[in-house]
């Protein structure tokens, strides 16, 4: 009897122990699984640098103030553009109305001063709520490239501004309100005193090219490029980096391909499952592109929206340095994406950072005036100024083979479509001297 009782206790003990151990194993595995998934989440959230708000990506590249008939003042230095746009984004936009004829009447009234904020390229109306404070959802279709403000339209705490397309022949009237709108007049006065003389060249499609018409002196810059670890891009861009196989400088998981170009310090990521067959709107391209870069915090430096083309499915974000855009023939100063219906197909970008300046020999460059530039371009055989989308001052980024340093030299550039072309200082001088 006694033995039976001990056996009972023993059995109960063993059963409890087995339950406990079994529970341990099961929960342990759960923990293990959990740690794997949280690991994957961690991988998906790999951060390269920063996330960015569209407000900080879409900025005008020129502010132009038209005084009366044919005098233009302006700036294209971000340092002067940012405070103005910051002020405007504090206003509340409400009541959007198609008002092309109103606008054209006012705009053509040449005694009317006009403050023109020009964006580098089209911005679809659907994105305006991401850039400004919008009270009600507006439903305008299409895109705008300019904000035009007639100073007389601004009252103490309300006003009217116009959004226009590239050619100033389609406009939306927007009512705005804010307690400080009245003080914007002071901002405009400040702007006028700090800005420089510009010229406006009207193209035959009604678009204007605004060019700085004073000789400006800018310094050169030199940086030691610091390579970012490409491994972090691999971890950020592949859903499961563990199944990625390497072949030379290429990585693939079967459907995605990452190629590293160590000579130029660029990388190219292609998601072969995304097709570029079906049409995607400009709005989808821009938003999908920004979302993609934000997902891995890929805004490494000062990149801004520069150009996009819905037919080519492309958007380009340009590097800015020392307040001016930077251009390079091999794309070393831009992030370029090709976007399809289901996301990003191609992602091309540099993977170095320019944060170690080293420029013992500072050189100053005096750039030709806008008039000289137009004169030079028009004298080039086969050159049609009507094909040009924009002409700006920027830095030409150069990397020589035998030199570790990256050099930046100020010069003029013009854009045709998605391509920026340099007007070399030397060429210009050659021609100008030849003319003398």
């Amino acid at each position: 009897m006694n033995i039976e009782q001990i056996k009972s206790w023993l059995l109960t003990g063993l059963v409890l122990l087995s339950i406990y151990l079994f529970w341990n194993i099961v929960t342990f595995q759960e923990n293990y699984d959990h740690s794997v998934t949280s690991n994957q989440q961690y991988i998906q959230e790999i951060t390269i640098a920063d996330k960015k708000d569209p407000k900080d990506i879409f900025l005008p590249n020129k502010l132009i103030y038209r005084v009366g008939v044919d005098e233009y003042l302006g700036t294209e230095s971000l340092q002067n553009i940012k405070p103005i746009i910051k002020e405007i984004s504090s206003w509340t936009f409400y009541d959007f109305q198609e008002a092309t004829s109103d606008f054209i009447d006012q705009f053509n009234e040449l005694e009317n001063d006009a403050f023109i904020l020009q964006y580098p390229d089209n911005i679809p109306y659907e994105m305006i709520k991401l850039l400004f404070t919008i009270e009600k959802d507006q439903k305008e279709a299409g895109a705008f490239q300019h904000i035009v403000i007639f100073p007389d339209d601004l009252q103490k705490n309300e006003g009217i501004i116009y959004l226009t397309n590239t050619f100033f022949n389609q406009a939306v009237k927007v009512r705005v309100r804010n307690d400080h709108i009245g003080s914007f007049q002071d901002k405009i006065e400040d702007f006028k005193t700090n800005s420089k003389q510009y010229i406006a060249v009207k193209k035959n499609n009604n678009d204007y090219l605004f060019l700085l018409n004073e000789a400006i002196s800018l310094g050169n810059y030199q940086y030691l490029p610091i390579k970012r670890e490409t491994n972090i891009f691999k971890q950020a861009l592949f859903t499961d980096p563990n199944i990625v196989s390497q072949n030379g400088n290429g990585y693939t998981d079967g459907s995605n391909l990452l190629e590293i170009y160590p000579d130029t310090m660029k990388l190219r990521f292609v998601n072969t499952t995304v097709s570029l067959e079906s049409y995607v709107t400009l709005g989808e391209i821009l938003q999908s592109g920004i979302k993609f870069i934000n997902e891995h915090s890929g805004w490494t430096d000062q990149y801004y929206y520069s150009a996009a083309n819905a037919n080519e499915h492309k958007v380009i974000f340009q590097l800015n340095l020392q307040d001016y855009p930077v251009f390079n023939e091999s794309g070393l100063s831009e992030i370029e994406l090709a976007i399809g219906k289901s996301g990003t197909r191609v992602y091309e970008r540099p993977y170095f950072a320019l944060d170690v300046p080293f420029n013992p020999v500072n050189e100053e460059f005096t750039l030709p005036t806008g008039t000289e530039i137009i004169h030079y371009l028009e004298n080039n055989k086969g050159f049609n100024i009507n094909n040009v989308d924009d002409i700006v001052i920027g830095y030409h980024m150069r990397k020589e083979f035998n030199n570790e340093l990256i050099q930046l030299e100020p010069t003029w550039f013009y854009r045709i479509g998605l391509k920026w072309i340099r007007i070399s200082n030397d060429q210009m001088e050659g021609q100008l001297n030849g003319l003398e």
């Binding site: 063993l14 087995s18 151990l21 293990y32 390579k227 340093l405």
Partner: protein, 258 residues
């Protein structure tokens, strides 16, 4: 009676089950520590390959890129420290001693330190690098905040001994206007050692005889230089290897910048 037998069978089977489960739990626990083991494995393989090293510094975690230029010497800079000198190319000072400076046959570094401190421009900023028996020369490199500018011909003192171990002449360059440019995260000495090991820069059985953080010339324009924080490893007392502490790559071992 049957119940008692059944109990015995149950007890035996549960005993077997529990033993199995305990075994499972132990295996799982071991697998779980596997990850931790992997992390330390490079240091373990270094030790397993019979590579010995002194205690490695844990700090600093960040360090600056610096830039500077070679000094253009004027005679007035040097008149208080030497009577006989010649300046070539503005940058190089050649000192000569009228009376040889006598050293013991068993001279020590502090003897030379004493000499350099008094007889060279800003001599207290220089640090002993090596003594080359073949050429009978002692090399000093300049320091910035106590960190040596490795292999830097722009901040260097070369002391020539005669066969009686006396100092007869020496040359000097000086690196000035040093500015800190950009603070960057750097690899630790341990990570740098792992980089050397993985790149097969240290042979089995080697002895790391010195580890030190300093600066190595990254690039130069005329007499200006950009220097990068760099780990210096001395192997077996004679080989010097330099690891770029920002980007984590090895500078070629033979490269001496002139």
């Amino acid at each position: 009676m049957d119940w008692s037998r059944a109990k015995t069978i149950f007890i035996i089977s549960f005993l077997i089950l529990d033993v199995f489960l305990i075994y499972q739990v132990t295996v799982q626990k071991n697998q779980n520590t596997f990850d931790l083991m992997k992390k330390t494995s490079i240091m373990d393989s270094i030790k397993a390959d019979d590579i010995t090293f002194p205690p490695l510094p844990v700090d600093p975690k960040t360090e600056y890129y610096i830039e500077g230029t070679m000094k253009n010497f004027k005679g007035s800079d040097l008149s208080s420290i030497s009577k006989k000198f010649k300046i070539t190319n503005d940058n190089y000072v050649h000192y000569e001693l009228e009376e040889p400076y006598q050293l013991n046959e068993n001279w020590t570094i502090s003897d030379i330190d004493q000499f350099v401190k008094l007889r060279a421009y800003q001599g207290n900023q220089y640090k002993f690098w090596n003594y080359d028996e073949e050429t009978n020369q002692i090399i000093y490199y300049q320091t910035y905040r106590n960190k040596t500018l490795f292999q830097n011909a722009s901040g260097k003192i070369t002391i020539q001994l005669n066969k009686d171990h006396d100092i007869v002449k020496y040359t000097q360059t000086y690196f000035e206007n040093i500015k800190e440019i950009k603070e960057k995260e750097i690899v630790t000495a341990e990570e740098a050692l792992a980089i050397l090991y993985k790149g097969h820069h240290i042979k089995t059985g080697s002895k790391v005889t010195g580890v030190e953080l300093g600066y190595y010339t990254s690039t130069s324009i005329m007499t200006s230089q950009l220097l990068v924080p760099t780990w210096h490893f001395q192997i077996n007392g004679d080989t010097n290897i330099f690891v770029n502490a920002v980007e984590g790559h090895v500078f070629s071992e033979t490269q001496v910048l002139e």
